[in-house]
C-alpha cells in the first residue's frame, strides 16, 4: 500500500511538471521520459522498502537441538528460547534418562512475538499449545512448557487404549503436592472399591484404578450402591424434557439397580478413581522401574497392568501395594503438629523471650 502511494505520488509529481498544452514529442524524448519514470519508480520503491524495514522488527529463524528433538524457533528475540532449550534438555535428561531417544523425530515449533510465545508440534500431531509469556516469565518457565510439549508428543505416539485410560493429556512431571491431592481423591472417593483400596485391599485398588479389564465397567468397577451414587451425582433430569430418564432416576434412587444401569448405559464410564490418581500410579511405576522405564512402558502392549509392570519390572501386586503406601505416606497427617515443628516453635518462642529479657535498660 505504501509503495503504491509513493509510486502514485511520484507519477503525480511528474504529471504536474508536464506542460498544459500537449506538444509533439519525438520517440527519443518519450524514451527518455520512460527511463526517468522508471528511475523514479525504483527510487520510490527503495524508499518504501527502507520504511518497511525500519517499522517491522527483524525476525530471526533458528533451528536448535534439544537432545534428539528439533526445535525450530522463529521470532524477534530468541535469547529466551535458547536459554529455555538448555533447561528443557536438562529436565528431559533427568526425567527420561536413556529413554530420551524416544523423542527422536519430534519437532517443536516456537514462535516468539512481543510478549507471546506459541509452542506447537509438527503437522500430523494435531495437538498444539500456546501461552502468553509475560515480562517476568523466566527461561525456566518456558523450559517447563517445552518439556510438557515434548512429553505430549511422546504420548501422542501411544494407542487409544493407553490414552483413554490415562485420560489426562500428558504424563507431566508430578510433584509431592500432586501425590497429596491424589491421596485426597482416594480418601474422599465415595465408591466401595476406593474405600477397599484405602484400607489396603489390592483387588479394590485394581477396580478403583480401572486396571481390571472388562466389557462391563459399570457392573465390574462399581457396586450397586456405587451405581446409585453415580446416578445421584449426575442429578435428576428435568421431567418436562426427559420424562423417562426422570422416572428411571427416581426408581434408581429408591433402590432399583436395573434402573441405575439403564440410566447410565449411554454414558462414558470412567474408573472410580479420577485421572489425577491414575497418573500417580504411572509415575510411580516409572520411578520404580528406573532407567529405561519410559521405553518399556511405551513399547509394552497388553493390559494397562501388564504395561505398568513391564515399566516397573516388579509384579503387579508389589507395584500397586507400594504405590498405595507412597500415596498414604505422602499425605501423613498434615494438620497435626509434628515433633520437629513443635520443638522448633518452642525453641523460637524461648529465643525471642530471652531477647526480650536480655536488656537491663529501661526505655
Amino acid at each position: 500500500m505504501r509503495r503504491l502511494t509513493l509510486g502514485t505520488l511520484a507519477l503525480t509529481a511528474a504529471g504536474v511538471l508536464l506542460p498544459r498544452t500537449v506538444q509533439a514529442q519525438t520517440v527519443e524524448e518519450l524514451r527518455a521520459r520512460v527511463v526517468q519514470f522508471e528511475q523514479q519508480w525504483n527510487e520510490a520503491n527503495e524508499l518504501a522498502r527502507r520504511v518497511d524495514a525500519a517499522l517491522l522488527p527483524k525476525l530471526h529463524v533458528d533451528t536448535m537441538a534439544i537432545g534428539p528433538i528439533v526445535l525450530v524457533a522463529i521470532g524477534d528475540d530468541l535469547t529466551l528460547i535458547r536459554d529455555a532449550a538448555d533447561g528443557a534438555l536438562q529436565r528431559l535428561s533427568d526425567h527420561l534418562g536413556s529413554d530420551i531417544d524416544l523423542l527422536q523425530g519430534v519437532e517443536i515449533y516456537a514462535l516468539a512475538r512481543e510478549h507471546t510465545v506459541g509452542l506447537g508440534l509438527t503437522s500430523g500431531m494435531e495437538q498444539s499449545r500456546s501461552f502468553i509469556l509475560f515480562e517476568e516469565t523466566k527461561a525456566a518457565d518456558l523450559a517447563g512448557s517445552l518439556v510438557h510439549t515434548a512429553l505430549e508428543a511422546l504420548d501422542l505416539t501411544q494407542d487409544r487404549g493407553f490414552r483413554d485410560w490415562l485420560t489426562v493429556r500428558t504424563l507431566t512431571l508430578l510433584s509431592a503436592v500432586d501425590f497429596v491431592r491424589a491421596y485426597e481423591s482416594l480418601a474422599t472417593s465415595p465408591f466401595e472399591a476406593s474405600s477397599k483400596c484405602l484400607l489396603g485391599e489390592l483387588g479394590g485398588c485394581r477396580l478403583a484404578l480401572g486396571l481390571t479389564e472388562t466389557s462391563e465397567p459399570l457392573l465390574t468397577w462399581y457396586s450397586e450402591a456405587d451405581r446409585r451414587t453415580l446416578v445421584e451425582n449426575s442429578g435428576r433430569p428435568l421431567e418436562r424434557f426427559f420424562p423417562n430418564m426422570a422416572t428411571m432416576y427416581d426408581r434408581c434412587v429408591e433402590g432399583d439397580d436395573e434402573s441405575c444401569s439403564t440410566f447410565m448405559k449411554d454414558q462414558s464410564i470412567q474408573p472410580p478413581l479420577p485421572p489425577n490418581v491414575r497418573v500417580t500410579l504411572v509415575q510411580h511405576a516409572l520411578v520404580v522401574g528406573g532407567d529405561g522405564a519410559y521405553g518399556r512402558l511405551y513399547r509394552a502392549r497388553g493390559t494397562m497392568e501388564e504395561r505398568l509392570t513391564a515399566a516397573a519390572r516388579v509384579p503387579g501386586d508389589s507395584l500397586i501395594a507400594s504405590w498405595r503406601a507412597v500415596l498414604v505416606d505422602s499425605a501423613g497427617h498434615p494438620t497435626a503438629v509434628s515433633w520437629p515443628l513443635g520443638l522448633a516453635a518452642v525453641f523460637w518462642a524461648m529465643a525471642f523471650s530471652a531477647m526480650a529479657l536480655r536488656s537491663t535498660r529501661w526505655r
Binding site: 523466566k138 491421596y183 485426597e184 482416594l186 480418601a187 474422599t188 472417593s189 465415595p190 465408591f191 474405600s195 484405602l198 451414587t229 445421584e232 451425582n233 499425605a331 497427617h333 498434615p334 494438620t335 497435626a336 503438629v337 509434628s338 520437629p340 515443628l341 513443635g342 522448633a344 516453635a345 518452642v346 523460637w348 518462642a349 524461648m350 529465643a351 525471642f352 523471650s353 531477647m355 526480650a356 529479657l357 536480655r358 536488656s359 537491663t360 535498660r361 529501661w362 526505655r363
Partner: protein, 218 residues
C-alpha cells in the same frame, strides 16, 4: 507480685482478649456450617475440604493478632508512663519483663481454650464424610503454639525502645525496597523468596504458621 502484674495486664487487655476468645471459638464452629445434611456423598467430601481451606487462613491470622494484642497491651502503659511503676518496684528489669511475659502466657490460655471448645463442638456437630478426619486437638495445639510464638516475637519488639521497633521495621522496608530495585533493574536476584522460605521452613521461626490449618482433613 505475679498476681498484681497479671491483674493489671488482664485489666488492660480484657476487652480485646474477650473478643479474640469469642472469635477463636466461633471460627471452627462457623467453618462447619453447611457441612453435613443430605448432600451427595463424595461431592460432600470435596466441599468440606474446600470449605476448610477457605477458613484455614483465619486461624494463623487470629493467632498472630492475639500475640500482637497481648504484647502491645503488656508494654504500652509502661512506655506511656515512662516506666515509673516498674522503677518503683525492687526488681531488676529482666525479672519484671519475665513477670509480664508470664502474665501474657497465662492470658493466652483464654483464646486457646476458646479454640479448643469451638473445635470440639464443631467436630461433634458436623457430619464428617468418609475418608476425612476431624483434628480438633491438633488444630488447638497448632493455634496455641502459633499464638505463643507471635506473642514472644511482638513482646521482644515492644519491650525494646521505639528506636528498636523502628530498626526492625526499617530492616523489613529496606529488604522490600531492595527487592523492588533489583526487580526494576532486571537483576535476577530474588532476595525475599529465599528469606521467606527459610522463615516458613519447619525449622524456621515462622514454620508453625505454615502448613495446613484444617479442622477436618484427610
Amino acid at each position: 507480685m505475679f498476681q498484681v502484674i497479671l491483674s493489671t495486664q488482664w485489666k488492660w487487655a480484657r476487652l480485646p482478649l474477650l473478643l479474640a476468645t469469642i472469635t477463636a471459638f466461633t471460627i471452627p464452629v462457623l467453618s462447619v456450617q453447611g457441612v453435613g445434611g443430605n448432600q451427595i456423598q463424595g461431592v460432600l467430601a470435596f466441599r468440606v475440604l474446600a470449605a476448610m481451606e477457605n477458613w484455614a487462613v483465619w486461624y494463623p491470622l487470629l493467632a498472630a493478632a492475639i500475640g500482637l494484642l497481648l504484647a502491645v497491651t503488656a508494654w504500652g502503659p509502661d512506655h506511656r508512663q515512662g516506666h515509673t511503676y516498674a522503677l518503683s518496684l525492687p526488681l531488676p528489669r529482666w525479672q519484671y519483663a519475665m513477670l509480664r511475659l508470664g502474665a501474657g502466657f497465662v492470658l493466652l490460655a483464654a483464646p486457646a481454650i476458646g479454640i479448643a471448645l469451638g473445635s470440639v463442638l464443631a467436630s461433634a456437630t458436623a457430619t464428617v464424610p468418609v475418608g476425612l478426619t476431624a483434628y480438633p486437638v491438633a488444630l488447638t495445639i497448632r493455634f496455641t503454639l502459633a499464638a505463643i510464638l507471635a506473642f514472644t516475637i511482638f513482646f521482644a519488639i515492644a519491650g525494646g525502645s521505639t528506636r528498636t521497633a523502628g530498626y526492625v521495621l526499617a530492616a523489613m522496608a529496606a529488604l522490600l525496597v531492595g527487592h523492588w530495585l533489583l526487580d526494576v533493574a532486571t537483576i535476577p536476584i530474588d532476595v525475599v523468596g529465599p528469606l521467606l522460605e527459610r522463615l516458613y521452613d519447619f525449622r524456621g521461626p515462622l514454620g508453625i504458621f505454615g502448613g495446613r490449618w484444617m479442622l477436618i482433613d484427610v
